[in-house]
Symmetry: C2
Amino acid sequence: MGRLTPYVPGEQPSNPDVIKLNTNENPYGPSPASLAAIRAETSDSLRLYPDPNATALKSALADFHAISPSQVFVGNGSDEVLAHIFQGLLKHDEPILFPDITYSFYPVYCGLYDVAYATIPLTPNLEIRLDDYTPTNGGIIIANPNAPTGQALKPSAIETLLERNTDSVVVIDEAYIAFGGESSVGLIDRFDNLLVVQTLSKSHALAGLRIGFALGHPSLIAALERIKNSFNSFPLDRLAIVGAIAALNDRDYFDSIRQKIIATRERLVGELERLDFRVVPSATNFLFVSHRDNAAGAIAEALRARSIIVRHFDHERTVNYLRITIGSDDEVDALLTALKNIQV
Amino acid sequence: MGRLTPYVPGEQPSNPDVIKLNTNENPYGPSPASLAAIRAETSDSLRLYPDPNATALKSALADFHAISPSQVFVGNGSDEVLAHIFQGLLKHDEPILFPDITYSFYPVYCGLYDVAYATIPLTPNLEIRLDDYTPTNGGIIIANPNAPTGQALKPSAIETLLERNTDSVVVIDEAYIAFGGESSVGLIDRFDNLLVVQTLSKSHALAGLRIGFALGHPSLIAALERIKNSFNSFPLDRLAIVGAIAALNDRDYFDSIRQKIIATRERLVGELERLDFRVVPSATNFLFVSHRDNAAGAIAEALRARSIIVRHFDHERTVNYLRITIGSDDEVDALLTALKNIQV
């Protein structure tokens, strides 16, 4: 296993005074109902194993998405859910396909599970062109909206892909769907080769708890359950289960924080454009931007000197871009003040 | 992956009035300090990802075991830790070796990761005889104390095994070590092919939180980190990390509950022997017992009719045994009353 190249997540600085716009966390806390549910479960009940099937959480997710619990698989963060998908559903003779610029964990999973893959270039505008995903493949995985670019595809485009790609599993990774994109979950009843993956990390401000899930045909869900039950009987702990259920059931809070983030994003887009940034259209809680005159790496370093951390990737095609998480209005104001003052 | 045979964990009944002596949970709750630490972390901080390296928890485990943090790997329950070990360290041309009667997840991991294995029979007294584990192997995994039998090996016996088995990884699974066995962790400085796996599920009454770990040479730990970082950046959530640290630091509480469990066990052994049970010597928080006259399955059903659940395995060699978790004194009294009254 010596040739594994692990994924490197964004930095988690220990200094709480840093303005952290580098890992796409939600600037608002979880639902108060979620925190109350966790506190209520913080008791002697922790001596007991969790429900290995997380039945109550699957029911809450099924209610949230108006589907059946048999169409729901849950895991310890969407990273674990994706890992099981790569191991169980994407290993075939033909390579799987995903964009050249996307979530950089996908090739890592391929290394871990010996899955062949080929990358399909984004267009010069950094868009995914689904016509480039030809039928001869072992599977297709598309982040929608894509990361780190932030652009979203319409479900109608996904539907067209599914109509001609019927022989392999299509995974739509919707980690950022809560912030303006349209989910493809409505297609799972029609296409038995579609899996939609989501997480509560960003949408419900629960990155600290690790709750991910996949939605799809019961036969795909059953295949993932076999993997999970051969790997770890109890991937979700008791506190994550109750916290997730309460967060899902508090829809007003969910709507209020995502609307605030979308409003802050739209304001930040305008301000950055006035500062000569090009901003890729975003349906997420982050912006992917490049500056007309200044190098992205230099801007990132200058921001870091002012205790503001943003993400800079070194992929050849995106070396001049920064990914900036939408923070609170105060954090965004501090970012804008810093950008106006730095000399690079 | 259609031929996977998943592990089936013990039943988790939803009825709280059931006396649950089937999954080896601790009858006492977690340390009050652990519960307080979890409540303190149940805040807006849950919007942030956990420390991907769980550095503070590794330090607490290193302190607890008087070793270095570079000798510590942590995961989402010892099941996840074991899965990574099977995937990363035990797949070779030669089969790995483990007892014919032991934790039944081991062959499941072998199926998941295509690891060849051979089982070595326990002696007629249900003991592990390490002389039977010959040097030609891809690895050796020994639960010590063994489950479901409960018997412990001395570290000196493990040491003898390690002295002659130097070419493959030896895993000692110490899930039950807190209840009277002697840990082999003192051998990790001398044998760079030794991994000791433990969990806080039973010892620290934290089954509901999922905290497992492996202790060994830094090169083995680094290999596990590569697997983990290719699988899931954040396997341990924020609440599990703080709860585990506080539990580890409350040694008085840990000692008090394990001493209570050991005392209850010794009392239960005597009472069961008076009821014509044969009791396998136990260094764990469970007993493995067979009755002189009555079939184990019939006893288990009669207990279930009285809302007491114990574990009955259908392995040919142990079909006439029951595994009974050491509960609280009240639970053990209820068990004994039921056993005196049932007619099978």
